[in-house]
Amino acid sequence: MTISTALAVRKVGWEHFPHDADIGVRGWGVTAVEAFEQAACALTAVITDADIKPQTSVEVKCEAPDLELLFVEWLNAIIYEMAVRNMLFGRFAVQLDGNCLTGTLWGEPVDVARHAPACEPKGATYTALKVFRNLDDRWSAECIVDV
């Protein structure tokens, strides 16, 4: 639930940021790809603080008219796979090709006792949605997730 400070030094990391009713997820990295991957870690951390074993992988594909909308599609694709497979994911790999995204999610089935899921994301939103490159050349991807 806090900045992964060790990773921040390496210019890669994630954090949550506040919203009145829900929660914001923010990922950053040297590339947009890393920012998307880190934000996915932030999404999982909305649900659980526990480690997720990378037992199974799932492929997702999505597209959108621009990079910001693509980011929301990416998070929604993860939410969808979590819901229908009853899984949590802890590792992510993204490939971007223009406004098309291919992603691999690694995870395991939900174990209620071990993961103690705090809440269930309903959907990623366009609220506080930003994908941008900072002055220090670091990419950031963020939005509010409805839980």
Partner: protein, 476 residues
Amino acid sequence: MDPARFTRVDPMTWRVEPQGAMRVPAIIYADENLIRDMDDKVFEQTTNVATLPGIVRASYAMPDAHWGYGFPIGGVAAFDPDQDGIVSAGGVGFDISCGVRTMLTGLSVADILPIQKSLAESFFRQIPAGVGSTGAISLDAFDMDAMLSGGAHWAIERGWGEIRDLERIEEKGKMAGAKPEYVSEHAKKRQRREMGTLGSGNHYLEVQAVTELFDTEVAEVFGLAQNDVVVSIHCGSRGLGHQIGSEFLKEMLLAAKASGIELPDRELACAPINSEVGQRYLGAMRAAINCALANREVLGHYARRIFTHFFPNCDLRLLFDVSHNTCKVESHVIDGKRRELFVHRKGATRAFGPGHASLPATLRPVGQPVLIGGSMGTDSYILVGDKTSEAKAFSSACHGAGRALSRHAALKRWSGRKIVDDLASQGIVIRSPSTRGVAEEAPGAYKDVGAVVAAAEQAGLSRRVARLRPLICIKG
């Protein structure tokens, strides 16, 4: 928010005159303290809604309003299809037809106290709640469409509910105009194993005691007496509604652009009511309303089963089932003329006053029960729609306390374990699979629901009938 940003019409009414692209005024009903505590985003979002095409009379916000998505949570807006009015997926929200039902148990607090912990344990074990839980019901394609068309009727036909419940559910338990064929396969897949599940976040099942009566005559009509025990269930259309919300939000962004609608916020994505996308959304959204009505009917059946195990002669009767995330076609009088409007309520409860034709004969003389959920461990309220409700905000009232602190801030401040222990010492049994989830939903993270309902009453939105105190709370 700084109250100076508004024209104070009366002690409970705060108005912003149309400026810039606003087509109508923005009006917030609240007392001065609630206004001061609201985020500036509520001002921004309420005035943004006022810019949407076809909006009628005003963009309203209820006393529990807080920062939402496009619309504020606690937002109410009506649109006229004959004036290029729109329908907005963001204006309904992700959890389509999220709502509350309250059932009378006919039991008193003294009946419950000796078995309070065992009863809590039974609810916790038998009501699937939270991530990783699946329901006992699995729907094939045929059953899915039947559920999406039939709502609570579908549940009752399969033995999960009682026919007498129907007159106590909005739309008599079945939303007309539902089009299961407009619901995507993704949305249906998300729902296959989710019927009869509670969800998580602020959703709950509570066993509550009636601790105060404000209006004994209406309370008697509602069947409520001091120290009575009721069961309240707060949840919605589960994964199906979430998926429909996400998909149409994306599609309506393009639809708004194609229709030349300038959006001050992407989350206000909308489409003209009289458009292909608009009609398709309405068909899918109404199917999701049926999903929520069916889900709460099934959960109500589970509650009956559990209570009957402990009290074989117990008879749970539905007081009412009302949603607070919807868009409904309603007839309202505007400047002396009756018009059919598409009323969006995002985190706002419909509150029909006395005499409304949709109410069952027993409730019609007094008005519709308005069910206001508190936060975990705090009071809930039962209100009744007032004669003044329609003129104030298209017969709408608040829906809950509204958060005062973010989940983020709540986690920093409270430990879930300690909250469970503290509430136990006050006679409130909390059961949840996640102590972190409990901390995020800490009672102190919410506004004072008592102040919210008092403001709703003073503003003429609804009147208080009864206050409820939780005895058992099951959180997802």
